[in-house]
Symmetry: D2
Subunit: 362 residues, 4 copies
């Protein structure tokens, strides 16, 4: 459904980087959910650019909830969250109508929209639209926390510089959810930032890997085949700009394992059944097994770099060189982390509402 | 939609490993499509077990098309393909009702279906259901070929033993589509098979990586955000049993690249615009750019192994050991290749019909 | 979604009048539902032609459930019901490829399928496909009855000859659900049958009105706006061949009422809240209010009549006259009643599963 | 999908009568569609209250298009139309939290939303939300007109006072589309208004019937079974508040016809094939046959009346009497006409885009 995602709870995204307002509709959320405005602001703050390795464009993200909330609580009808675009410098982008930026959607958009797309700042494809996603996801995360379900995403690596692995998930996750540079090992932040700054000095950018864990999800959620939890999650995750890979549990590491290593042995304490390892990342046959859901995402380096690049003029069909002006992030890996949290929360709320009914999350 | 996938053209899957019949419904295919029965048989043959590294269960896969085809051509109304299960040995599986196989869906299914699932041979979760998928995909592939769109999947690695990379895509793809062990470098087959046989002798299994390329797709297909081509493809691909990772283009390799390396420079011959590299795997901003679509899938080792494993008794809530009987594949990587081809073809037909209308593929 | 209907529980229909098999997939039904085969047979029997005012084509409707049921209970995975076509006389229909029957889908199908449709006996458009719908609906009705929800449809009129109105809904409904000519006033059957037989003698056919009531539905089901209960029900009901009108509660009668008559006053016994009248047919603002759901359907006269009719030759683009051979029903109003029951049951199960979760109906 | 409707082109509605803003998202409209702001304003003007038989609440409906339109043309990405609520008098409605208005959604909403609904002015159920629908429909109508497809709705009757029938559809339709009281026979307006005013003087309200005709739709649109054109249209039409019946072509009149009268004979001029009558309202077997689409809707009398009514207190579970204050329409039949035009246009654009591809309407 294009810009709508979800079944029992659905999310509809709209807006452009330099349009008047961007926003999202959440439809199907249970009535009576308390809207935690502070938590929405916190998550929007996490997504906003901070410091040297982020764009200088400063958007205040002053969102308004114009429907679906009454006296501080969800009504059960569609919640519309609007965020005005205030810091627009459209002049920066005028050449994009003709010369597409390598690695960006500009040329693909031309193929699809035949020149009618709003090319300013990437238009509808802009990472700017992750702001309403983060706002919606913050509501979804609040709801999940009340059910004992917690989501945490850390920067597994930037430019090859690694964070430590998850160890005690519960503690690790809680530490991550408020961080603007979510790493598990504090020392790694400095090293990662240095790499990103080095690239920035070269007019270049860096990529990385995010790793996400979810604890508290009950078993028995998801569907066999086309609506496996991996299917639904990856569908949503690949909608985040710059995500080019998703792997669950041991992921690509499975390719060199034998079955006897890969299989997660079951164990019971006489009451709860769990697995001794979690190579399958909490999902078997597409369905949750009650263990933590674990996955990683490949984040490509920001395509907007200041180095001169080879491109073409789409109108004249001539080769052209491109030097991007404007304000850009040499690294967006850390800023993508709260977007991942948001998207995962949105998906899980939908799955739970489908499984247990529309009042379950109220 | 659970066991239904697709919008303009949808696919509905049903059946269990030891049920009476398994099958698939294809709805929305253009009228007038010639049904190439030989091609369906060829693809089903590719999926069937062959040789030492596959299960001894031999199913003839004698499918019947009971609706939607008239005088050899699609009518435009739902096509139902049925495949009877003939080689069932249900006795083999009776213990699964109580003791779940590690790495399999048995326990997750118990969480979801509360003991009512058909546990025999994995029931609805069985890889057996990929047979109707392959049959439907064969029809989809025939349709795409008429439009100049070709799909090819090779075994990138099994147990760490690698095939060569794609070089000339056109030739490579054509060679793959009829192979029962699709590798680009003939010599690698022997090495991979040896690894799988070694594991089999140990009562164990091996995993691997598949790589798929699609040529001929026009630019401008897909949607920004929630229905990006990566989203839709990964959604469908993660429904294939044992797939635990999907990456497009450079995928996880992006994490150590800089933007200047990762970005695919544009070039034109004065008519067509293309990119000099294809790190983005033919997709930018979720939309095809006219370059080949390239992605890789992590295939976990078959969870059914003959080694004794630790499990639990789900009814008595006691620890238990499990020794699987029955007929199993020590390696399913090669058998998954035609399933990937099928799933990709199904998705692309749906996307094209949505973009260009329901008669486009006729 | 073309031949698929429903969200939490979906139904996918396939087959043609003279194809090999027709059938339906039910996906999303809770696990553990007992499949009452006798009830399915009873409902199929009600739909089958009986007596002088029905077609002479006698189909035994020997259905097979080939998936999704294990040891007599639903597994929670897709249930596929197949019904073979046995009494086919394709020769009867060969002229339909060229000369469309007035009032039938033949010409519209030609516009859509460009000559590739299976024209025999109306192909996919045939009323024959209501057999699998009735089978699926019988399962849905069994499920609803366990929740205290009962559906009953009576023949409000045939050729203007009227049945009495509903009086005591509970008793009336129970009497209807097993009848092959469901009227509330026994005497009216004879009068209606006479009208139909008279038309049959003239080589003609008759139409009528069906009225359906549902008791036991809780309040608070449905959605405002696009998924109102009226929207969802009418969507499903208009898929039944020959239905050309649907009205809820007072329906078209509202057009001559004043608000003070039309509004259903509320009343309470201190516990339950109900309305004193039920002009709104149990639905306000698209949402159930706990009162019986009441609606009526206009059923057009069977378009297959033996009288000579004016038509055209679609290939030669010449005017042509048509004299239909074959076996036809001069009246299908009574046979449509169990189809209405089935469709309503399917919709309500879907709505309840969406509202209360996928296990609710188990 | 609750507040989202459509497949190829979808519409998502949000807002409450007394919330900050109401609006709609149009997703999937072809790029390059010129947005005719004057036409949007014209249609919004038609929907607004005028004169004695309408509410005194005067909303200017100053809409803003905040996304999806660039340089006056659609971009192909989601169009968000926002309309602020300015003339709110929330005090008028405070009692509705406890005492539901007969004939309104208040009680059904309480069943569904457990007291969390925004009860002011009917909240999300308010007819006020038809304003964004009309705005979206105006865009859809502009698009259709370029394809030669015209929609016109007249007041067939109010309080039993009738307009003349359609005669020359083309002329009739064009006359209707700009009228604020769309009747075919000018004289009937006066008579209908008198009836409505009489009711208003009694503190009461009146209902009526709308009849809609569409010319220019090609044959071959729609699907057999669950997505018949009747199914899709009625689904959308029953989402309009106060609609309680929908009938196509001869509709309920079919119930007293014989097949020989009801069947529409075919005729050809050697090129085009058409029917001599149009009892089927342009749809056979759920699919358009190229003839005008004709249907009628029953509109119930406005439930908001000033007469004292019997109700209950939902909190205390006591019987209560209700005297509604505030500003209300004694007749909304005429104001519903542009809403019907809008909804029909939205549906037809979706169907055409699905059939002929997403660029078809550009």
């Amino acid at each position: 459904m294009k810009n709508t995602f979800g079944n029992s709870i659905s999310y509809t995204l709209f807006g452009e980087s330099h349009g008047e307002e961007i926003g999202i509709i959440i439809d199907g959320l249970a009535p009576g959910v308390e809207i935690d405005e502070e938590y929405i602001k916190l998550q929007l703050m996490r997504r906003r650019p901070h410091g040297k390795i982020s764009t200088a464009r400063q958007e205040k993200d002053e969102y308004r909830i114009v429907s679906g909330v009454f006296e501080g609580k969800s009504t059960g009808t569609p919640i519309c969250i609007l965020i005005p675009n205030t810091s627009k410098k459209s002049g920066d982008y005028s050449s994009l109508a003709e010369i597409p930026r390598p690695g960006h959607a500009d040329f693909a958009a031309e193929c699809k929209y035949h020149g009618f797309q709003d090319y300013r700042g990437g238009g509808h494809f802009s990472g700017r639209l992750t702001a309403p996603i983060v706002a919606a996801g913050a509501i979804a995360q609040s709801v999940l926390k009340k059910k004992g379900i917690y989501i945490g995403t850390h920067i597994k690596s930037i430019a090859g510089k690694k964070d430590r692995d998850f160890s005690c998930l519960e503690d690790d996750i809680k530490a991550l959810s408020e961080s603007i540079f979510p790493v598990l090992c504090e020392a790694s932040e400095e090293i990662m930032r240095e790499e990103a700054e080095k690239a920035a000095l070269d007019g270049d950018s860096v990529g990385g890997i995010l790793e996400c864990a979810v604890i508290g999800m009950p078993g028995g959620i998801g569907e066999p085949w086309f609506d496996s939890v991996e299917s639904i999650l990856s569908h949503a995750l690949f909608s985040i700009p710059a995500v080019k890979g998703v792997e669950f549990g041991a992921g690509f590491g499975f390719s060199e394992m034998r079955g006897s290593e890969a299989n997660d042995a079951f164990e019971t304490d006489g009451e709860k059944i769990y697995t001794k390892t979690n190579n399958n990342g909490g999902i078997n046959g597409g369905i949750t097994n009650g263990m933590p859901i674990i996955f990683r995402l490949a984040i490509k380096p920001t395509p907007s770099i200041f180095k001169e690049q080879e491109s073409v003029n789409m109108k004249t069909k001539e080769n052209a060189s491109l030097k991007i002006e404007g304000r850009h992030d040499p690294c967006i890996v850390h800023r993508a982390a709260p977007v991942v949290d948001a998207v995962v929360a949105m998906v899980l709320c939908d799955l739970l509402a489908g499984r247990f009914g529309t009042d379950f999350l109220s």
